[in-house]
C-alpha cells in the first residue's frame, strides 16, 4: 500500500496543524502534533476555494513551524473539504492521452461550477469504463490558491507533495483497514461550518457532497434531504455501515440511525493511530485524516 511522507499539515482558514507520524505496531504512531493559529483574514472567502490573501501571515506561521520542528522537506497538505469541488461525472468516452482526457474532464465541469474551469487545478480518476459511459471522479480547486500555498511553503523550505481534502483521507484511513466488500457504506464528516456526505458501493464512490452549513438549514435537515435524495436517486435504502467523523459527530447519530436504518460508528482516532499525545481534543478527525496519508 502506498504511503506518503510522515509529515502532514492540515491547513484551515484560521489555523495550521502539523502532525508527524511514525510507524507503529498495527497503526501509525502520532509522534508529534501541534496547532498554529493563523492571523485573521489570511484566507478570504471566494466561490470555490478561499483566496490566500495574506501570504506573509502563512509564511510567518511556517517559519515558526520550521524553527520548532527542524529540518524536513516533504509535506502533505490537507485542506477542508469545502475548499474543493468533488464531482462524479458521466462521460460518453474519455481520450487515452492524458492531456486530451484532462481537457474533456475540464470541459465537463463547465456546467457545474460558478467559475471558468481554466482557473481550476484538476485531478481525476476513472471509476468505471462501460460502453458509451465513463464514470469519472473529479477533484478540483482554485489554481491561484493552491499555487500560492505551494509557493509560500516552498519559500519556507517545504516541498508540497500532496494536496487533498481532509474528508477523503479520513475515508482512506477507514477503508484501508477494512476487508473487501461490495456493500454500500455511508460516510459523514461534520465540521463547525461545513459537512461532507459520501456513499461508497464497494470501493467506488456513488455520491459525494460537501456543503457549508447555514443558519437557514440545520444539519439534521441536511441529513434528511440527503437521505431522501439517496433513496430516490440511487435507490439506496440501507447501508452495511455508517461512519461519522468530526467533533460534532455525536450530535447526528440519532438522525442518521433513524433515516438510514443502520448502525452508526464514530470515527475515533484511537482506532487508527497509536501513542496519541494528550491534549489532542478537537483534532481527532484531522489526525485520523493524517493516518490516511501516512500509512506506515
Amino acid at each position: 500500500m502506498r504511503s506518503f511522507p510522515p509529515d502532514v499539515v492540515v491547513l484551515d482558514s484560521d489555523s495550521l496543524m502539523h502532525a508527524r507520524l511514525g510507524r507503529g505496531k498495527a497503526n501509525p504512531r502520532i509522534v508529534n502534533a501541534k496547532t498554529y493559529r493563523l492571523a485573521p483574514e489570511t484566507f478570504t472567502a471566494t466561490p470555490v476555494t478561499p483566496q490566500l490573501a495574506n501570504e506573509a501571515a502563512l509564511a510567518e506561521t511556517l517559519r515558526r513551524l520550521r524553527t520548532e520542528t527542524g529540518k524536513w522537506e516533504k509535506v502533505s497538505v490537507l485542506l477542508p473539504d469545502s475548499w474543493f469541488r468533488i464531482n462524479i461525472v458521466d462521460l460518453p468516452s474519455i481520450p487515452e492521452r492524458d492531456s486530451d482526457a484532462m481537457d474533456v474532464v475540464r470541459w465537463s465541469l463547465k456546467r457545474t461550477l460558478p467559475i471558468p474551469p481554466e482557473q481550476l487545478r484538476i485531478a481525476y480518476s476513472v471509476l468505471s469504463h462501460a460502453e458509451g459511459n465513463v464514470k469519472v471522479l473529479v477533484l478540483s480547486a482554485l489554481e491561484a490558491t493552491l499555487g500560492a500555498i505551494e509557493r509560500v511553503f516552498a519559500a519556507a523550505g517545504f516541498e508540497v507533495v500532496l494536496i487533498e481534502p481532509v474528508g477523503l483521507n479520513i475515508w482512506n484511513a477507514i477503508t484501508v483497514r477494512e476487508s473487501d466488500t461490495s456493500g454500500d457504506r455511508l460516510f459523514f464528516y461534520l465540521r463547525g461550518t461545513d459537512f461532507t456526505t459520501a456513499v461508497f458501493r464497494g470501493a467506488h464512490p456513488l455520491f459525494i457532497r460537501s456543503r457549508n452549513l447555514s443558519a437557514e438549514r440545520a444539519i439534521d435537515q441536511e441529513i434528511r434531504l440527503s437521505a431522501s435524495y439517496l433513496r430516490d436517486s440511487l435507490n439506496v435504502e440501507t447501508f452495511t455501515s455508517c461512519y461519522v467523523a468530526g467533533e460534532r459527530g455525536a450530535d447526528i447519530h440519532a438522525t442518521l440511525a433513524e433515516e438510514f436504518n443502520t448502525q452508526v460508528r464514530t470515527v475515533a482516532l484511537k482506532d487508527y493511530a497509536e501513542d496519541i499525545p494528550s491534549g489532542m481534543f478537537g483534532l481527532e478527525a484531522e489526525l485520523t485524516a493524517c493516518t490516511g496519508v501516512f500509512t506506515g
Binding site: 500500500m1 511522507p5 485531478a123 471522479l137 493552491l146 507533495v161
Partner: protein, 195 residues
C-alpha cells in the same frame, strides 16, 4: 481496500524507495562482485606462481632449443651436399668392395662353368646393396660354350639377367665371348639349391 488519492499538488509525491532499494542492491552486488574479482585475481597470482615459473622455464628451454635448431639449420644450409653425397657414395663403394668375397664368387663360377669353358676376366661394379653387375670374358673350346654358360647361370639363383655382349670365333678354333650378369651374393648357393 484501496484508498482513493486525487492529488492536486503541482509536483506530486513519487515514492522512489523501490528504485533506491534496487540501486543500493545493485551497488552492493557490484561491490561484492568487484571484491570477488580482486580476490580471485590475487588468488590466481599467488596459486599459479610455481606453475608460471615452470612455464617460463620450459619456454626458455624451448627458446634455447629453437636457437640450437636454427644454428644447426644454418650449418646444414652451409654444407656442400652434392660433394658430401659423392664422397659418401665413394666411401660406400669402397666399403662394399672391401666386403666383396672374391673367393665365394670364384667358387660359384667354378661350380657352373663347363669343362670346355674358362674364365678370362671378371670386372664387378660394386654397389652397397642389391645385385653386383659383372662383366666377364670367357674362352670356350666349342661354339656351344656361351649357350651352356648362359643356361647354367640362369639355373643358378646367384646369377640373374645373364646377357651376351659379343662372341668371337678365333683362328685357333676357340671362341671368346663376353657376358654381363647380375651377381646376387646373398642368394642361396648352387650347392644349397641342389641340396
Amino acid at each position: 481496500m484501496k484508498p482513493i488519492h486525487l492529488n492536486l499538488a503541482a509536483r506530486p509525491y513519487r515514492d522512489y524507495r523501490p528504485v533506491y532499494a534496487v540501486v543500493v542492491a545493485l551497488s552492493l552486488l557490484s561491490a561484492f562482485l568487484m571484491l570477488n574479482n580482486i580476490e580471485t585475481y590475487y588468488r590466481y597470482i599467488h596459486e599459479t606462481k610455481a606453475t608460471r615459473a615452470k612455464i617460463a622455464e620450459v619456454e626458455e628451454q624451448a627458446r634455447v632449443e629453437k636457437a640450437k635448431e636454427d644454428t644447426a639449420r644454418q650449418r646444414v644450409k652451409g654444407l656442400d651436399l652434392a660433394q658430401l653425397d659423392q664422397q659418401t657414395r665413394f666411401i660406400n663403394a669402397k666399403l662394399a668392395e672391401r666386403a666383396f668375397s672374391w673367393s665365394r664368387l670364384l667358387d660359384e663360377l667354378e661350380s657352373i662353368l663347363a669343362d670346355d669353358v674358362r674364365l678370362m676376366s671378371v670386372s664387378p661394379q660394386f654397389t652397397v646393396n642389391g645385385p653386383i653387375p659383372l662383366s666377364m670374358n670367357f674362352e670356350a673350346k666349342s661354339g656351344d660354350g656361351m649357350i651352356t654358360t648362359i643356361n647354367r647361370m640362369n639355373a643358378d639363383p646367384q646369377f640373374k639377367n645373364a646377357f651376351p655382349s659379343n662372341e668371337t670365333a678365333n683362328d685357333d678354333g676357340t671362341y671368346t665371348f663376353v657376358l654381363s650378369v647380375d651377381y646376387l651374393p646373398n642368394a642361396p648357393q648352387t650347392a644349397e639349391v641342389l641340396r
